[in-house]
């Protein structure tokens, strides 16, 4: 005769535990950590290349680049000037999890680092469920995608603090309506900070750099 056995346990409790450890380590060291998410091809690696080129050594930065296959993104970031870059090849998993990130972080000397970017696998669904110990998520979308993207992926846009609209130099070449995209994002997340950029031309990136500088400065050791 089967009996009811109360469990009341979070399924992702192990991931959450590891993420909490990561968060605590980064807190103690004063490292500001951003989990970068988007669909494949929105421009995560491009904006990180621009960011590295802009700040140089003035903000010591570490980067973790995740993909299903290849270390192509990590290679690009090294070429762009990244001194502390690690790749995670998931070999099949469509998202990074805290276990993967912790394994890499345990191997990095974070003493002098002030800013850590985790470039997640290109995917707006699965990464939303997996806390990586970050301070916040930055979600990218581009003008070559639909302006209803935020409505289609509410979980990710709700959990993100900043939305970057990339490829603004291509506005007008598709039916993408920038105002609609902004309105849709604010419908899902009324507190979303929205930055419009073109990684290709450099347009709009000053706002991103200013926001980053101020966020890093606020994260005290």
């Amino acid at each position: 005769m089967a009996e009811k056995v109360t469990i009341e346990k979070k399924v992702l409790s192990e991931n959450d535990r590891l993420a909490a450890e990561i968060r605590s380590t980064l807190e103690n060291l004063g490292v500001f950590c951003i989990n970068m998410v988007s669909s494949p091809g929105s421009g995560k690696t491009s904006i990180l290349e621009r960011t590295l080129a802009h700040f140089g050594e003035s903000i010591p930065t570490a980067l973790i680049a995740g993909d299903v296959q290849t270390e192509n993104d990590a290679d690009r970031l090294k070429k762009a000037g990244g001194k502390t870059v690690r790749a995670i090849e998931t070999g099949g998993a469509c998202h990074l999890d805290a276990k993967m990130v912790k394994r890499v972080l345990d191997d990095i000397d974070l003493q002098d680092i002030r800013l850590l970017f985790i470039e997640n696998v290109g995917n707006l669904v699965c990464p939303a469920s997996f806390d990586l110990g970050e301070d916040l998520k930055v979600v990218l979308m581009s003008t070559t995608e639909g302006d209803d993207k935020p409505l289609k992926y509410p979980s990710m846009f709700r959990r993100s603090s900043v939305m970057i609209i990339n490829k603004c130099d291509l506005l007008g070449l598709s039916n993408f309506d920038k105002e609609k995209a902004r309105e849709n994002a604010l419908t899902i997340n009324g507190k979303m900070k929205i930055i419009e950029v073109s990684c290709r031309t450099g347009e709009g990136l000053e706002e991103w750099y200013d926001w980053l500088e101020s966020s890093v400065a606020q994260k005290k050791r």
Binding site: A2, K4, V5, I7, E8, A93, D97, V125, T187, K191
Partner: protein, 113 residues
């Protein structure tokens, strides 16, 4: 698909509970899954079935309670079910909300011998 990762986590937790509580057989795993998690119950069941072939949990069924997204307006205090992912207070139209339910991925209980 991340439902497979979720299924594998469920299997790990339940297997540990079987060991620690000396359970012989688990008939049912009752789950609570919030609507904001983007976890498809069908995909989860599929992943669970695939991952439990030739294991003690092969015949175990999943029972999934879907939890709607509940928002609490920080401006007027209204608590409401968030419909169609529109995160705007129906009373005062504020977008200043807390989500009090909808992100859960939990094992509530087992039915076991």
């Amino acid at each position: 698909m991340h439902e497979l990762s979720i299924a594998q986590n469920i299997i790990e937790i339940v297997s540990q509970e079987m060991k620690s509580r000396q359970l012989k057989c688990v008939d049912t795993i009752a789950l609570r899954i919030g609507a904001l998690t983007c976890i498809s119950p069908d995909a989860l069941e599929f992943g669970f079935q695939a991952a439990t072939v030739d294991t003690p949990l092969e015949s175990t069924k999943l029972v999934i309670e879907r939890l709607p997204v509940i928002g609490k307006c920080l401006s007027c205090g209204c608590e409401f079910e968030v419909e169609e992912y529109v995160f705007i207070c129906p009373e005062c139209s504020s977008r200043n909300l807390d989500i009090t339910q909808g992100k859960e991925v939990e094992i509530a209980y087992l039915e076991a011998t």
